[in-house]
Amino acid sequence: MSGDPASNGKAPAAAVGGLPASAAAGAAASAETSAVGSASPAHIGPPARALPGGGETRRHTLIAIVLDKPGVLNRVSSLMRARNFNIDSLAVSHTDQPDISRMTITLHGDDVAVEQAAKQLYRLIDVLKVQDVTSEATVDHELALVKIRATDSNRAEILTIVELSKGRVVDLSGESVIVEVTGTETEVDAFVALVRTYGIKELVRTGAVVMARGSASIEEATKR
């Protein structure tokens, strides 16, 4: 390469004295902080700037309170797709207020990425409130219907598992049973794993619906 890149990155050591003390606590809308403050001597070279996020990925739960308008589900899902967030589950329903819907979105990402997702959701005109309840005490439930292959020889065995798992048989036929189970995602996962050996003909899950424990209400916070 015959290029002649400039060598202007060599900041003189004198340039970086007296950096301000760390003072980024209590951010208004967000409080991403990074350890960029300390300067290295010039001969070592500048420290790499921290990128936003890059932290550990975990499952997050966002609750969004939205206006019940045509296309609002499309707006939310389109935004998540366009911004490269992968939704694990999405449950939508009415609330007690006639024109307000509630979405429970679970997704995997690091904290900063999910905060970014929440902020992007806020940009939608029809979104009233978004809350990441991942770190809060919550009731976290989903419902699954599982159509399990059943024969005369193993039906009793399946029913025992259903009973132990606090499931409920909602349909019984010669060759299958439909079982309804509710619980946390993990509990439903566990039940599905247990009955998989008998053969699952069909499986449908609602995705998690989540509500914070205690008397505080995300819905009340949006009331006009």
Partner: protein
């Protein structure tokens, strides 16, 4: 008039006739058939009541729209039918809807008002899409209106039906599909409010043909009613006081601070606040591409244009800064390059009205959410006045870097280079001969960077450029809107031969509506930026970089536009003056050097410290 029928065969008996109407006899089928017939029947009663189309015109007038850009088509005809009753709104008949959208964009950028464009359903609507996307990426307040097929035909793949609402959904701030005329007053009031409030952006309103034709008595809401009806839209205008204190403390301690001024300064009309703040704190101001005009470039504290093709001295200042005060900018990749190596010694205060911008591209120490003007006004009394003498060593170093940068061989007037005409020289002369008081509208590519670097901007909102989306073909139509928005200023469209050929149909609009845009066509017979990248990054594999064009003087002449030609440096001033003397649009065909590069250049993926300043033997 006699009508002759070719078909003289006897018609079959009524009993033998079949109906092919799905669900014939039901109310739904009847509605569909009636709508189909209505699509072919635009007969208008002479005495008429208020219909949806009237509401649209009333709403435009209420919102202070004096001009809009549009193209007719089947389903938008009900609106055209009543337009004549509203002479207060000037209708510009563009030659392509994309031109209309860019014109609305250019109008919005120079006036700060909401630009309005309109088209019919289907292709009319999809033609607007590039312009809407351009407005979204640059946060331009715009309302785009389209007609759609009658409500009952939606979803039936009717003639010129496309799901335009689904198409614009991810590329607007908000969008609407209106199927009932009674909703039109509310929707229009909301759309304009959303487009201009907080971080501006485009809003799209799709209106079914029957909604335009329906009678309605619905009243226009007040601004208060509009706000009350949008509970999910409450932009945070004022900064958190605690954050301001933190910012003031950071500023007090900084030894090498730099202000990064972005487009948000212009949106907030905060240019005076910025200058006052910079002067009090004695902090140099660098600007982004769209932040051009936030501070006059001849101000002692204006340090210049940053980023990929920015000034080397500006990028050096950023790389050695201990504090960046970013205001109304979003750390775009063209500004930061590789984020890992970006401003490695700097703490960052980031002011933006959109919370989602903060922490999106770079991690920052002090986030401040608020309107740039309000934040600057709140911060001004909290910072101490700094004696310039305190910053003397810093300023001396900056001045030395600037001398070095401006003394580089690639800089400035290249008129002497082998007698060839260089683009930077042309742009410099246009800036000089218009006293830096015109509106300068860039296209995309090398011409855009030459314009940003060499025009010498003195006025806010005098620079119009498609920054985020980088839309070629932007210049001429955007200049059309800009000229109508600021008729008190001369308007220059400075474009390359590539972009010009994308939207040159609007030359006819310039002529027909007597819009006095001066077009500076920088013709290197190449896609210059493509050629430059292929030279430097793709080992000289010049596929599709050559772009033969027509005889541009003849082309302009065919439209009735006076054309001037300059092939050498000594012809430049005369050509510019001749174009300026024309009462109306004019074109100057500058045949510039074919292989001129724009330097410095930061290769994609590299950092601000990795600028390329020359390549091979060429260091233009």
């Amino acid at each position: 008039m006699t009508v002759t029928r070719g078909d003289t065969a006897k018609p079959p008996s009524p009993d033998a006739r079949r109906s092919h109407v799905p669900g014939d006899g039901t109310a739904g089928a009847a509605a569909v058939e009636q709508a189909r017939r209505a699509m072919l029947d635009d007969a208008r009663p002479r005495r008429r009541t208020r219909i949806g189309a009237d509401v649209v015109c009333e709403a435009l007038i209420r919102q202070g729209v004096d001009v809009f850009f549009s193209y007719p088509g089947g389903v938008i005809l009900p609106l055209y039918d009543v337009l004549g009753d509203y002479p207060e709104v000037r209708h510009i008949l563009v030659r392509h809807e994309q031109g209309g959208a860019h014109a609305a964009d250019g109008y919005a950028r120079v006036t700060g008002k909401v630009g309005v464009c309109m088209g019919t359903s289907g292709p009319g609507a999809t033609n607007l899409v590039t312009g809407i996307g351009t407005a979204l990426l640059d946060s331009i307040p715009m309302v785009a209106i389209t007609g759609n097929v009658p409500g009952v035909l939606i979803g039936k793949d009717a003639f010129q039906e496309i799901d335009i609402n689904g198409i614009t959904l991810p590329m607007t701030k908000h969008n609407y599909l209106v199927r009932n005329a009674d909703d039109l007053p509310r929707v229009f009031a909301e759309a304009f409010h959303i487009a201009r409030t907080g971080r501006p952006g485009p809003v799209h309103i799709d209106i079914t043909k029957d909604a335009l034709q329906q009678e309605t008595n619905a009243e226009h809401p007040t601004e208060e009613q509009v706000i009350a009806g949008l509970p999910g839209f409450r932009p945070n205008m004022d900064a958190n006081g605690r954050q301001l204190k933190v910012a003031a403390a950071e500023i007090a301690q900084a030894k090498r601070p730099v202000i990064l001024a972005g487009h948000g300064i212009l949106h907030a009309e905060a240019w005076d606040d910025l200058v006052a703040f910079a002067e009090k704190t004695q902090i140099p101001v660098a600007h982004t591409l769209l932040g051009i005009g936030a501070i006059p470039e001849d101000h002692p504290l204006s340090y210049g244009f940053m980023g990929m093709h920015g000034w080397k001295h500006v990028n050096r200042a950023i790389q050695s800064a201990d504090l960046l005060i970013a205001i109304g900018m979003r750390f775009d990749d063209r500004v930061t390059g590789n984020v890992r190596t970006y401003a490695p010694y700097a703490r960052i205060i980031h002011v933006d009205i959109d919370p989602a911008e903060i922490g999106k591209n770079v991690a920052v120490e002090v986030p401040i959410v608020g309107d740039a003007g309000r934040v600057l006004r709140a911060l001004l009394p909290m910072v101490e006045a700094v004696d310039p003498a305190v910053r003397a060593p810093y300023f001396e170093e900056l001045a030395e870097w600037r001398r070095d940068s401006e003394g580089s061989s690639w800089h400035g007037s290249g008129a002497w280079r082998d007698g060839l005409l260089s683009a930077d020289y042309v742009v410099e002369r246009i800036g000089e001969l218009s006293n830096h008081q015109a509106t300068y509208v860039a296209d995309v590519g090398q011409n855009q960077m030459w314009l940003a670097r060499y025009t010498g901007f003195r006025q806010p909102n005098s620079h119009v450029s498609s920054g985020g989306l980088g839309t070629m073909g932007f210049s001429v139509p955007a200049a059309m809107g800009a000229a109508l928005g600021r008729p008190d200023r001369e308007t220059w469209a400075i474009t390359g031969d590539g972009g010009f050929q994308m939207t040159s149909q609007e030359l006819m609009t310039l002529v027909a509506d007597r819009i006095p845009v001066k077009i500076a066509l920088l013709d290197n017979k190449k896609l210059g930026m493509i050629r430059q990248w292929q030279e430097i990054i793709y080992a000289g594999n010049y596929h599709s970089a050559s772009l033969p064009g027509p005889d541009f003087a003849k082309l302009a002449d065919a439209y009735g536009i006076p054309a001037f030609r300059a092939q050498s440096p000594d012809q430049v001033d005369d050509a510019i003056r001749a174009a300026q003397a024309v009462d109306g649009p004019a074109l100057i065909w500058f045949e510039i050097a074919e292989e001129q590069n724009i330097f410095p250049m930061m290769p994609a993926g590299k950092g601000l410290s990795d600028l390329i300043e020359k390549w091979g033997g060429a260091d233009e």
